[in-house]
């Protein structure tokens, strides 16, 4: 694959779009959550304000070079994940750098930021950071199992690991979506998805009342702003991956945004309905029902 400079421009454009979409979707989601609780809730643009505010903080303290690099790793992880993903099917513009690697690259690149962030948080020397990270890592390993099963199932189903090819195979009608052609894999992956979105019942990582916000407890000002930027991009990128794999991808931005929004609501719904799991409980949970469904998905390809 040859490299064109225009690709860079396209990539930046799509990055800009997804940043805004991410901020707005999350604002709206929180608004919806508030309305469910009969509150007005935040304004839909509140996340912009928070972001600006944090970028505008005047002072900052640093625990050391890794502390500095932690958010950098995190944001590069988020942006990188997005950049390695084909966003709009059939569009020359928005393929990003998906030619660099396939589905496996995406699933492993998710950890790039996580690991870097863990290191950064670790250097702060705050015990809560470490506790939060151990929880997060522990839970993630378990949550990934149904996802791996689902990925293998669809890889076998489509005989490819290329995301573009998987999306291509789902074109031509809603019934071609993996959701309908391989419902078990989709269910397994969606259950795994819950574990990676840091929402209840799997939000013991952050646990504000217990270990104040877990890993990022020492991050503030610009560091936090960078993390917030990532928090807008990273879940979007992950959700786009799921849309691509299971929900037929998208051929234009509006469809993509709608699909992403709907899929994003899935952990939100679960989150408002279920209380928090302890880490060992969530590990056990992931290793039971979702894993079983994943295994069935492979058996019934």
């Amino acid at each position: 694959m040859t490299f064109h400079w225009m690709q860079l421009v396209y990539a930046l454009v799509s990055l800009f779009i997804v940043l805004n979409v991410g901020l707005i979707i999350q604002g709206i989601v929180r608004k919806i959550g508030a309305r469910l609780g009969r509150r007005h809730g935040i304004r839909w643009y509140q996340l912009y304000l928070d972001l600006f505010k944090n970028y505008a903080m005047r002072s900052a303290v640093s625990h050391g070079i890794m502390f500095y690099l932690g958010p950098v790793f995190r944001l590069s992880g988020g942006i990188g994940l997005f950049l390695f993903m084909p966003v709009i099917y059939g569009s020359v513009w928005f393929q990003n750098f998906s030619g660099s690697g396939d589905l496996i690259l995406l699933t492993y690149f998710i950890f790039f930021g996580t690991l870097g962030m863990a290191l950064g948080a670790g250097e702060s020397g705050h015990p809560y950071s470490a506790i939060g990270i151990t929880r997060g890592l522990s839970q993630t390993t378990a949550a990934e199992i149904p996802l791996i099963l689902a990925i293998i199932a669809i890889a076998v189903q489509y005989q490819t690991l290329s995301v573009t090819d998987i999306v291509a195979a789902q074109q031509g009608g809603i019934l071609n979506w993996t959701l309908f052609t391989n419902p078990l894999a989709t269910i397994a992956a969606l259950l795994g998805f819950l574990g990676s979105m840091m929402r209840s019942p799997f939000d013991v990582v952050m646990a504000p009342q217990e270990i104040p916000v877990g890993p990022p407890t020492e991050f503030h000002s610009n560091f936090l702003a960078v993390l917030q930027t990532n928090r807008a991009i990273f879940p979007m990128a992950k959700t786009i991956l799921y849309v691509n794999l299971f929900f037929g991808g998208a051929t234009n931005w509006p469809v993509l945004i709608i699909k992403v929004f709907l899929l994003y609501m899935w952990p939100v719904f679960i989150g408002v309905a279920f209380p928090r799991f302890r880490v060992d409980q969530s590990i056990r949970w992931f290793l039971r029902i979702p894993t079983l469904i994943g295994i069935l998905a492979i058996l019934f390809i």
Binding site: M1, F3, Y55, S59, A60, V61, S62, G64, Y68, V72, L75, S76, I79, G80, L83, F84, G99, S100, G101, D102, L103, I104, L105, Y108, F109, F111, F112, L115, L119, G122, G125, H126, P127, A130, I133, T134, L137, S138, T141, E144, I145, I152, A155, V156, T160, L161, S162, P212, T217, E218, S221, F223, V226, V279, D280, I283, R284, L287, G294, I298
Partner: protein
């Protein structure tokens, strides 16, 4: 000019002479004794050279010119000459150890000694039953006298038991002589054999009694308590000749008289011999008194050699070679060990730590022990090999099993002893006496080995192929007095040169593993420059190990392969043993390696048998009807080395307790020997199945489970090096899994994993080793915050863990990507999921490793710690460079591998387009990934740096602590029991099941030994009863059906 009678006459003359000169044992008497024994040695040496060169023919001489039975008929031939050389040589050497005894006890004691040797010479030379009886009597009485050199009640009791027991033997012997004479009218072997075999063998009680007497001379289990008491209680200097010379003579007598006894008794002989061998070693396990242990060993070895005499399957040539090698090595090594024991004066193995500061003693102890155990390059190694190969040709699996099991047990207690000597708790050191004989035996053994080898064309490769490495090893043994830095330079240069010369001949996997073994070894050796002083023992051991490793690559035959395999095991064992607390772990490493080596040996034996004795490695492809069994046996050997569950329990201790620059070698380099073996095996033998079980499927599952168990165990470790060791188990599990897939992608994955594991584990072990060197603890919760003090080590570990966990853009991802593709390709979905779960678990321990050591809170006592030593950093920097290079352009490394893999698996190869790899399913462009990640990272970094340039640098207690402030770093560093929730949820998966199994096995063996040991009460009467019962038992068993 010479006559065999001189062997009797010389000692007799000297006896009279010394006896006449009075009671005092002075210089004159000593000179006479030395002269007499030296004379016998010279004469036997003359005979040996004469027979070998063919200037003399074997002949029989009779005394007094009359015929048997009225004269003493002596036969002289090459076997006799060699045996006599051995016996008299030992006698001569033994003199000096007994000098003080003779001085104290007077000439009478010296006379006893000479008489003993006269009797032994007689036993070897005589062809006559009655004379044999006479000489046996003389030797028994003489030995009883020698036992009493040490004055103690126990000696007296032992001597008395001995007399009673030998009395029984005499009775059997004289009975047999009478009975045989009555039936055949002759007493000498040749005449007896002239009579009709029917007459001789038809239920002859004479043969039976003769058999019993011959056997009892060799102290068969369990009717041998009397002999053991002698070993234990007599002076070790006496035991040395008793074991070295006495047993040799007894064995020779057995060999000589066996034709009279007849074929019918061969099978019982094997049984008795093997049972003795096996149980003696079991019993030795429980002992801690060195002399008694050595006694058990002597008895056991005698049993083994006796069993060899009984093995009709062996060709005459084989039998001669095996028996001669075993006898010679046993005589010399056992003599040496007893003398060592005599000169150190230690009784219990625990006291042997006293020789720690005497490298020469350590060297000798190791030399003798490993000669006895049959390690290369000693002749016993080739004897063992020939024995097993010969047995493998027939349905004698149980014999192989018994021999190998016995050898394993022997190794267990011997190595434990050796370990205590090198690493045990030091006790008050005895004043060690000056000791001439022990030194002189060393070259004798080597010489002997070489002479024997020259006679065997099948092992001639030692002289053609192996002389360079062997010279290399010997060189390091000889140059051990040089400073470590000089030796290190030699070693690096040597490996480099070797690689340079070897390079043109290496292809494919051999080249890859040569790079790992040699270039990797060179890089890791750089760390050795850090050590000052001499590092006695390090370089010879390394030389052994590296030579062994390289030998595996150049080996063209199975015996060569096994030769180098054993050398490598030996060297690595010494290296591991160098660690401070590595005593039990080195032992367990050694035992597992030996176990693996023995299964491998039987596998190779069966293979050779299936190929009409051909030893070429290419014969792996034609395993005959037993190919599945061969595959399993060989695989077991290699899997032990790669520490596959459940054969893994040796690894964590061995790797973690080794020195800082040894751990990376044994982990990153040594484990690859097992991988190389597996590759050789799988490529050679192809798909295998046992019954309906596809062995590769089984191996795949085994690999997946190993990966999971290894990684899960790693996350619950508090000890940094143990964590890395467990991680190695997991990584090797991936390799096994990938290899077992038996397709192009699988093997490519395995290669990538192996290479990666080498790079990463070397890097991590070096980095952690450097840290441990500085902070003097391996517990991670005692460290923390070291990033401020050791930033370079931190970077090393960071690169290491990113690569290890398989996060793009570093090399680890290549393995993950390939493994996914290979999983889908082979349809091994569930194993693949376990593998990937294990991969995720890697994150947990990786984070724990870097966080608890480098991040978090710096401790008080580490505030002035410095960066790891320069020479520890140099190899790390090189390795980091290699990792980054390969990560950026993976095609440079992977494309050639893929190309030659198509020879094995032409289908489903990767298609390369520059740095872009395409498989059947996906694609991956390492260069682009690195580029995009790098650019994004740099952009974000500069963005943050720009907006946040004013950040105030604060210190470790400036954290938000709920309004409080931290008081002590120890209380603020979260590190202990790091993954408690994980333990709660999944801890049951790492319950130490296999450790328990092996522990129970070992405890059980010890319990058996303890139970049997109760037989040996030390009571003369009960020993006689044992003998009688033994005789009855043998009689009924033989008559009852065999």
């Amino acid at each position: 000019m010479t006559q065999p009678i001189l062997f009797i006459a010389l000692p007799l003359l000297a006896t009279f002479f010394t006896g006449l000169t009075g009671k005092r044992y002075g210089k004159f008497q000593s000179a006479v004794m030395n002269l007499a024994l030296a004379g016998t040695v010279l004469i036997s040496a003359y005979y040996v050279s004469a027979f070998v060169s063919g200037t003399r023919q074997p002949y029989t001489a009779s005394t007094a010119g009359s015929l048997p039975p009225f004269s003493i008929a002596f036969r002289m031939a090459l076997p006799e000459a060699l045996t006599l050389l051995l016996i008299n040589g030992l006698g001569l050497l033994g003199l000096s150890a007994l000098k003080t005894t003779f001085r104290q006890k007077g000439t009478l004691s010296a006379v006893t000694y000479l008489l003993y040797f006269m009797a032994l010479n007689g036993i070897v030379l005589t062809r006559d039953l009655f004379n044999y009886f006479v000489f046996i009597e003389i030797s028994s009485v003489a030995l009883a006298g020698m036992v009493l050199f040490k004055e103690s009640g126990r000696c007296l009791k032992a001597g008395f038991s001995w007399m009673m027991a030998t009395g029984v033997i005499s009775i059997f012997l004289i009975l047999s002589a009478i009975l045989i004479y009555v039936r055949t009218g002759a007493l000498d072997i040749d005449n007896i054999l002239l009579t009709d075999p029917l007459v001789l063998y038809s239920g002859s009680a004479g043969a039976f009694f003769l058999f019993l007497a011959l056997i009892f001379e060799l102290k068969p289990f369990p009717a041998n308590g009397w002999a053991l008491d002698v070993y234990e209680n007599a002076s070790p200097a006496v035991s040395a000749v008793f074991s070295g010379a006495g047993i040799t003579a007894g064995l020779f007598a057995l060999y000589k008289f066996l034709p009279i006894v007849g074929d019918r008794w061969l099978f019982p002989l094997i049984i008795i011999g093997l049972v003795t061998f096996l149980f003696s070693n079991i019993l030795a396990l429980k002992q801690h008194i060195v002399n008694r242990m050595l006694g058990y060993s002597s008895v056991g070895q005698a049993g083994l050699i006796a069993a060899v005499f009984g093995m009709g399957v062996l060709s005459k040539e084989d039998m001669f070679f095996i028996a001669a090698s075993l006898m010679a090595v046993h005589a010399l090594a056992k003599g040496g060990l007893f003398w060592l024991s005599h000169h150190t004066g230690y009784t219990s193995v625990y006291e042997w730590a006293g020789i720690r500061h005497k490298p020469l003693f350590i060297f000798l102890l190791g030399f003798y022990i490993f000669a006895l155990l049959g390690f290369p390059p000693f002749p016993s190694f080739f004897a063992k090999w020939s024995l097993i190969s010969a047995l493998a040709a027939g349905p004698y699996g149980w014999m192989m099993a018994a021999i190998l099991l016995g050898s394993l047990l022997e190794a267990a207690w011997m190595i434990r002893w050796f370990g205590f000597a090198v690493k045990g708790n030091e006790q008050t050191a005895n004043e060690i006496q000056k000791t001439p004989p022990v030194y002189t035996l060393v070259p004798a053994l080597l010489l002997l080995g070489l002479i024997l080898l020259l006679n065997r064309s099948r092992f001639a490769f030692i002289l053609t192929n192996a002389w360079i490495p062997l010279l290399f090893i010997t060189g390091f043994f000889l140059l051990d007095f040089l400073p470590a830095r000089v030796k290190n330079t030699f070693m690096i240069g040597g490996l480099g040169l070797y690689f340079y010369f070897l390079y043109p001949t290496l292809t494919e996997f051999r080249l890859i593993f040569a790079i790992i073994f040699l270039l990797g070894g060179m890089i890791l050796l750089l760390a050795g420059y850090h050590y000052k002083g001499r590092r006695i023992g390090f370089y010879p051991s390394s030389a052994l190990m590296y030579s062994g490793l390289v030998g595996l690559l150049t080996a063209g035959t199975t015996v060569e392969f096994f030769f180098w395999w054993e050398l490598m095991t030996l060297g690595s064992y010494f290296l591991i043993l160098r660690g401070k607390k590595s005593l039990p772990h080195a032992l367990s490493y050694f035992l597992f390696s030996m176990g693996g080596a023995y299964t491998m040996l039987s596998g190779f034996g069966l293979l050779a048998a299936a190929n009409q004795g051909s030893l070429a490695l290419e014969t792996l492809s034609s395993g005959g009807p037993f190919q599945a069994v061969i595959f399993i046996l060989l695989a077991l050997g290699f899997l032990t080395k790669t520490a596959t569950v459940p054969l893994h329990i040796w690894l964590p201790g061995a790797h973690s307790e080794a020195e800082s620059d040894v751990s990376p070698v044994v982990s990153a380099v040594l484990l690859k020997a097992g991988v190389f073996g597996l590759i050789l095996l799988m490529a050679g033998m192809g798909p295998q199945s046992l019954g309906r079980v596809n062995l590769y499927t089984a191996l795949g599952w085994l690999g997946a489970i190993t990966a999971l168990i290894g990684n899960l165990s790693a996350i619950f470790e508090e000890d940094a090096k143990r964590l890395l060791a467990y991680s190695s188990i997991g990584q090797l599990g991936y390799v096994l899994f990938a290899l077992a897939m038996m397709n192009h992608l699988g093997w490519l994955t395995a290669t990538v994993f192996a290479l990666n594991h080498f790079l990463i584990k070397a890097l991590l072990f070096l980095a952690i080793g450097g840290v441990v060197m500085r902070v003097k603890t391996r517990n991670m919760y005692e460290m923390g915050g070291l990033i401020k003090k050791m930033p370079l080590s931190f970077i090393s570990v960071m690169i290491g863990i990113i690569a290890l966990s398989g996060v793009p853009p570093l090399t680890g991802f290549a393995g993950k990507w390939l493994s996914y593709n290979a999983t889908v390709l082979s349809g091994w979905y569930f194993q693949g999921v376990i593998i990937n779960f294990a991969g995720l678990v890697t994150f947990l321990y990786c984070f724990r490793l870097i966080f608890t050591i480098f991040l978090g809170q710096l401790k008080d006592q580490h505030r002035q710690v410095k960066e790891a030593p320069f020479w520890m950093m140099v190899p790390q920097i090189i390795l980091m460079g290699v990792i980054l290079f390969i990560s950026t352009v993976p095609n440079v490394a992977l494309k050639p591998v893929g190309t030659f893999l198509t020879r094995y698996f032409p289908e489903h190869a990767l298609v390369w387009d520059g740095p872009m790899a395409r498989s059947l399913y996906g694609y991956w462009n390492g260069y682009m990934i690195m580029l995009v990640t790098g650019v994004v990272f740099a952009a974000v970094f500069f963005w943050l740096f720009f907006i946040n340039r004013k950040a105030v640098k604060i210190k470790q207690f400036n954290i938000v602590f709920a309004g409080e402030r931290p008081s002590r770093p120890e209380l603020t560093h979260f590190a202990y029991n790091f993954f408690a929730p994980y333990q709660k949820a999944l801890g049951f998966l790492v319950a130490p099941v296999s450790t328990d199994f092996w522990n129970r096995l070992s405890e059980g063996t010890h319990a058996i030994a303890g139970f049997i040991a109760r037989l040996f009460s030390g009571n003369g009467q009960s020993y006689v009863i044992h003998q009688i019962l033994f005789a009855v038992l043998v009689f009924f068993l033989v008559l009852g059906g065999i």
